[in-house]
């Protein structure tokens, strides 16, 4: 088995790479516990969670070498139970204009639209990491039966609030943008506002529960 490792990214950043295809729940929550711990320290400009990694951008680059050792020690110290996520209830209007890919996806997978809604809204998702756009959270994991590739040709205009899936992940577009994920529904919840405090509703590791609304198909 390949062990977790640390390495430098340029002269200012140190990466803890867990060196595996995916994390199990225990490893995932240990990583979030470590992230929360590091956020309380003043020595980092940025701490970014990736799918199977954590990157520290240090204020003082001369500390990089010592952080390479320290991160490996800290990783051993944290337990999954040290992490206490917030859970967000996210209302979703599924189907029709709010989710233009729901009907074609049902046809493709040989399921009814309400099967897909039930499958999609069943799990308690977790924010694995954020990226792509401010407030764009990669939510895992979509049930096996719903795992589909991205669209062959991305849309040039995905409306803000679109609830979408691609492979084993779900997401809500925080702002209007191009995008290749399959759109199942729409949520009125504001995810990101740079003028609010805090600006972003979701933090890495938070839980998300989709709640189907009567206005849509459900």
């Amino acid at each position: 088995m390949i062990q977790e490792q640390t390495y430098l990214l340029g002269e200012q950043a140190v990466v803890l790479d867990l060196n595996c295809a995916r994390l199990d729940n225990t490893q995932q929550n240990r990583l979030f516990a470590l992230h929360r711990h590091l956020q309380k320290q003043a020595q980092c400009t940025d701490i970014v969670v990736g799918k199977t990694s954590l990157t520290l951008v240090l204020q003082d680059p001369t500390q990089c070498a010592s952080w390479q050792d320290q991160l490996l020690l800290l990783w051993e110290e944290f337990n999954a139970e040290d992490f206490h996520p917030t859970t967000h209830q996210i209302p979703v209007v599924y189907g029709q204009a709010a989710g233009p890919d729901l009907a074609p996806l049902a046809a493709q997978l040989g399921l009814s639209q309400s099967d897909i809604i039930e499958l999609h809204s069943a799990p308690l998702y977790q924010v694995k990491f954020l990226g792509f756009l401010p407030g764009f959270a990669y939510l895992g994991c979509v049930p096996e039966q719903l795992r589909v590739a991205r669209l062959d040709s991305p849309r040039t205009h995905v409306p803000a609030g679109s609830v979408a899936i691609a492979e084993d992940l779900s997401a809500i577009y925080p702002s209007t943008s191009p995008g290749g994920w399959r759109l199942l529904g729409h949520s009125p919840t504001q995810l990101f506002n740079p003028h609010s405090q805090p600006p972003c509703l979701f933090q890495p590791g938070d839980n998300v529960k989709f709640v189907p609304q009567k206005e849509g198909l459900c």
């Binding site: 790479d17 740079p194 003028h195 972003c200």
Partner: protein
Amino acid sequence: MLDVIKPGVQLCIQDLGRHGHRHLGVSQSGALDPLAVKIANTLLGNPLNTAVLEITVGLTQLRFTSATNFALTGGDLKACLDDTPLTPGWRYYAKPGQLLSFASSPDALRAYVSVEGGFDLQNVMGSCATDLQAGFGGINGSSLATGDQLHYTSCTERHSVGALQPGYHKQVRILSGPHCTQLDSSVAQLLCAKSWQVLPDSNRMGMRLTGPDLLTHQLSINSQAVLPGTIQLPPNGAPIVLLNDCQTTGGYPMIAQVIQADLRHFAQLSAGDQISFTLTTPALAHQETQQHNYHLNQLRIALTHHDRSIS
């Protein structure tokens, strides 16, 4: 006030960037040439992070409606104050009604203008920098347009004074990236072995490069944090140098990282320019950043003496 008569190709408000929010998907933004911002602000006695105008390509016209001292830094885009040609790296005084105009140049791409005391701007998430992708910061989150007005507090005339600006180069120093070992281990050397051409679809998010022998591969990695200066290698083998507006995570292998001190050179590179890379060490990279700090300290001390001896 500073009135935007003509914005030119791209005119935007930038400072030293928005930090501490990358885990939420928020980009750094900020001036592509942070040293030019620091020199401009030092010339005026402003805090180093004071927001400035970033002028791309040129063809820009700005009118001062009240008196101020201003500094012009970065590349030489053939600026004039009314009919008087200006030199980058200098502090000047503008009277009410004077026009600051930029032509353009085949040898430079970006210039910076700061005013004494800074522009009155709203701070968004710790920075005044314009996030052009996400649409916040600066003035309404976008590039400046004709009719936009920037407010500042008027001030009395100071003597013109100039600072030495370190030159811009087309040879950039890099540190080997974390995924080289999983690709052909000599990929960083191959990157350094020849020169690369800047493609036209380059922007503040990233600089796309092409060359005669592309470094194609089939390695995909789990999405992880990327930074300005990260050199990504997509499967097509054409490297991308990420710049200030880049996304916060990426799934392409990272084959190198441009050293902090050399990132400013990308501010002046246009489509068609040839660049090359050389490998260096973290110790040397720190030294180069220190050199910039010494340079700014020397400038500040020299200016203190200069301004005192004149007044």
